[in-house]
């Protein structure tokens, strides 16, 4: 584990001079490029935006389900848990591919609507754009959001809820003042577990993103592949990891402070 990451770190200060040939005298050139070239900036911002939206959508959609399983399902909790975990273990490629079939030009939605007579021309805005990437990722990462939130909700001591009711809180206020702060660790874990991998996702933007939906992983792959500029690819990778680490750190710190102030 350590060797590849260190290797990449060292590589990022080199310069490519030919096929498999490198100028090994250290330079910051690759980082300067990674941070200043417009194309990279666009891709970084787009990746962060897509993955931020995905995280938000996934967590917001998953929360009610986790809440339902934790508080309303009395028997067969395990059945629900297995039911939502199962898709996580099936092929990621196939799940993304399923959305390509659904959203595509001749896909399920378009051909379905046409055969119903609702539209005469296929809708082109469904596919090959950032929205399609967000939709697909939101679906693909759903499980990862549900489990941590469920665990943190499940841990809440039921007597705390009763105490809040006894002290005169309405169910809504009880939710805001008791349940939500106590569920925060789960929500944080879910957000981090989704945000980090989705920023660097390669399959989804390649399959449903089109050129407007390309993300930073596509350019990393390009630099190591056809672009054959490994040092630049390494610098972009490390820059991406650093940006993500800083964002996640700030996010966790802010969330902790917010919850601390409230209680």
């Amino acid at each position: 584990m350590l060797i590849p990451v260190l290797g990449m770190a060292i590589m990022s200060f080199w310069q490519q001079t030919g096929h498999m040939a490198f100028d090994v005298s250290g330079t910051l050139h690759n980082y300067v490029e990674a941070l200043t070239r417009d194309m990279y900036r666009v891709l970084f911002l787009r990746s962060l935006a897509i993955s931020g939206l995905t995280t938000l959508a996934t967590v917001v959609m998953a929360f009610p389900l986790a809440y339902f399983i934790a508080f309303y399902v009395k028997r067969h909790k395990m059945v629900w848990i297995i039911l939502v975990t199962l898709p996580f273990w099936t092929s990621y490629l196939l799940r993304v591919f399923a959305w390509k079939i659904i959203l595509g030009y001749n896909g399920a939605i378009n051909s379905g609507l046409i055969s119903l007579g609702a539209i005469s021309e296929p809708l082109t805005f469904l596919m090959y754009n950032p929205t399609a990437v967000v939709i697909t990722l939101t679906h693909a990462w759903a499980t990862v959001a549900i489990l941590p939130i469920y665990v943190s909700l499940e841990k809440i001591d039921r007597s705390v809820l009763e105490a809040a009711t006894d002290l005169g809180d309405s169910p809504f206020m009880r939710f805001i003042r008791v349940v939500l702060p106590l569920a925060l660790p789960g929500i944080l874990a879910a957000s981090v577990l989704i945000f980090i991998p989705t920023v660097g996702d390669y399959v989804t933007p390649s399959l449903v993103g089109g050129s407007d939906g390309y993300m930073i992983a596509n350019v990393i792959q390009f630099q190591f592949g056809r672009g054959s500029n490994w040092p630049s690819g390494a610098a972009i990778s490390l820059t991406a990891m650093t940006i993500v680490a800083i964002l996640v750190g700030v996010f966790v710190w802010m969330a902790r402070r917010m919850s601390g102030r409230r209680s």
């Binding site: 009610p64 809440y67 196939l94 079939i101 055969s115 665990v151 980090i196 991406a240």
Partner: protein, 273 residues
């Protein structure tokens, strides 16, 4: 509790059902269209056919890809589970100096984007003069799978009573036989679960297999290559449907092993770690 509960339960229950439908329906389009008698993936459905499954069974390249996937999957499952056993045992039994950073390092692949890991490995392997192929794919998969194996096994090692091992040693068994006769049978369900889960991860994994492989594709890479030819799409769907069913089956068996004799409270730890 109060009058709002009944309504809330009904709303949330409905939402839950819709949500689960949303989780599953998109994936079900794969098997649906794999039985459709048309090379176009579109409505209306043209009629029932098994011919995509027949072409799939007759496809030699696919068989080779399947065998590659099985080789990589079995090697990955075996090696990462052995590493997972060693790691989990070290972490749960001993308190070693510098343990936390080491565990964090092992768990890192869970949070580093896969493409970056794949590229870093690619770089190291090529610079070190290694060649790409099934071995390099397996190396990448092991890197990804060890954290999962460790998480599954750690909950098993933690759940088991240490005094059993101590009494075995008091009764005169040496450390080796204590492990085989006491520890091993107790953690066996965890080991089986770990083998099955790591195999599933490796079998379905695409990024590492795509970038660390050479001319020998694994099954996901084979599917990816087929996607470029619209004519071959229905065959890919048939293949995908089979893989889905196989994965679901393996995971259910793994779950069954993992949950045997473990308390329900550990329900969510599989992914969260």
């Amino acid at each position: 509790m109060n009058s709002g509960t009944g309504v809330a339960a009904r709303i949330l229950g409905t939402y839950a059902v819709i949500y689960v439908a949303y989780l599953y329906v998109p994936v079900l389009f794969l098997p649906l269209f794999s039985f459709n008698d048309s090379i176009y993936i579109s409505f209306p459905l043209r009629g029932w056919t098994m011919k995509w499954y027949e072409t799939m069974l007759a496809n030699g390249a696919l068989h080779r890809a399947l065998i590659n996937s099985l080789k990589v999957g079995i090697a990955t499952a075996f090696i990462s589970t052995v590493l997972g056993i060693l790691g989990a045992r070290a972490v749960t039994r001993y308190r070693l100096p510098g343990q936390k950073p080491v565990v964090a390092m092992i768990m890192l692949p869970l949070v580093v984007p896969e493409i970056i890991l794949a590229m870093a490995l690619l770089m190291v392997i090529l610079r070190a003069g290694g060649s790409l192929g099934l071995v390099s794919i397996a190396a990448g998969h092991i890197l990804l799978c060890v954290p999962f194996a460790m998480v599954v096994l750690m909950s098993r090692f933690e759940g088991f009573d240490r005094s059993l091992e101590e009494s075995s040693q008091d009764l005169g068994e040496n450390a080796w036989w204590t492990f085989w006769r006491v520890t091993f049978p107790n953690v066996l369900p965890g080991i089986v679960a770990s083998l099955l889960l790591t195999f599933t991860i490796s079998f379905d994994e695409f990024i590492m297999a795509f970038f660390l492989g050479s001319t020998e594709p694994t099954l996901p890479v084979f599917m990816w290559n087929q996607l470029r030819f619209p004519r071959l799409l229905p065959g890919v769907l048939a293949l995908g449907a089979c893989i889905l069913i196989a994965s679901v089956f393996i995971v259910l068996v793994a779950e069954w092993f993992r949950r045997r004799n473990t308390p329900e409270t550990q329900s969510g730890d599989m992914i969260i770690g």
